[in-house]
């Protein structure tokens, strides 16, 4: 009886562990927006383990597509405390060492307020309120411009 229970628990633990790993991998996709531009849409709370994965994935992808601009979108991050901010700054610094400019986007009004009250400021890091703005800025940095096609204006 004891053996059965133990085996059962063990198998369950194994499942949980595997799922956690899978979630960690799935939760940090690095997407290529355009030539030389990559983006990381972050969803969920940022802890040390996740930041590490994000950083590794991001840096690897920067090398793969030889990116000069990286966008970190924190729209899906519910809270930003000093620790999370520190993690973000670390990631940005690492990307900078590889010659990539980082943009932090998706800062909600509430998060901006908490960050200021905590005394956190992303001093020389470019921040944008929305991902759209960040993409627009990123494209302009690599020499592209988004413009409306004349014919669709009339529709």
């Amino acid at each position: 009886m004891v053996v059965t229970t133990e085996t059962y628990i063990k198998s369950k633990e194994e499942i949980i562990r595997r799922q956690q790993e899978e979630m960690l991998e799935l939760s940090t996709p690095v997407v290529k927006i355009w030539e030389q531009i990559v983006a990381v849409p972050l969803i969920g709370t940022l802890d040390s383990a996740r930041t590490q994965t994000v950083m590794e994935n991001l840096l690897q992808e920067i090398v793969n597509v030889s990116a000069t601009v990286a966008i970190i979108d924190i729209t899906g991050v519910p809270t930003v405390d000093t620790l999370v901010a520190q993690h973000l700054i670390k990631t940005v610094s690492a990307a900078r060492l590889m010659g990539t400019e980082c943009i932090i986007s998706g800062i909600r009004p509430q998060i901006a307020q908490t960050m200021i009250h905590l005394g956190v400021s992303f001093q020389d890091i470019t921040t944008k309120a929305t991902l759209a703005e960040a993409i627009k800025y990123g494209l302009s940095r690599v020499g592209y411009r988004i413009s409306r096609i004349e014919s669709s204006k009339q529709q």
Binding site: I107, R108, P109, Q110, A112, Q113, M115, I116, H117, S121, F122, T126, T127, K128, A129, T130, E133
Partner: protein, 92 residues
């Protein structure tokens, strides 16, 4: 409830403080302004405090905070405080 109007001028938001600023009013302004910066995709904020008689340390800090928040949300802030300049300097 008293509210400080936030006017949209093109890419900018104009906040003209015409009433005496008390603490709760400053907090409300902070909430509303940050929300509006994101909503309207504002590139700049102009805060006119020329009508204010006194800027105490709390209001001074609030204004500085609002400016930093706007900066994080990618909007520059300028304060029109020609009358308040001497008093503002004191709180720095």
């Amino acid at each position: 409830m008293e509210r400080i109007p936030i006017l949209k001028l093109g890419n900018f938001l104009l906040v003209s403080i015409q009433v005496d600023m008390h603490d709760q009013l400053a907090l409300n302004l902070q909430d509303e302004l940050t929300a509006r910066i994101v909503q309207d995709n504002a590139k700049g904020v102009l805060i006119d405090i020329s009508a204010l008689e006194v800027v105490d340390s709390f209001i001074g800090r609030m204004l500085a905070n609002i400016a930093s928040m706007a900066r994080i949300l990618d909007a520059e802030t300028v304060g029109d405080r020609n009358l308040e300049q001497p008093r503002c300097e004191k709180h720095r």
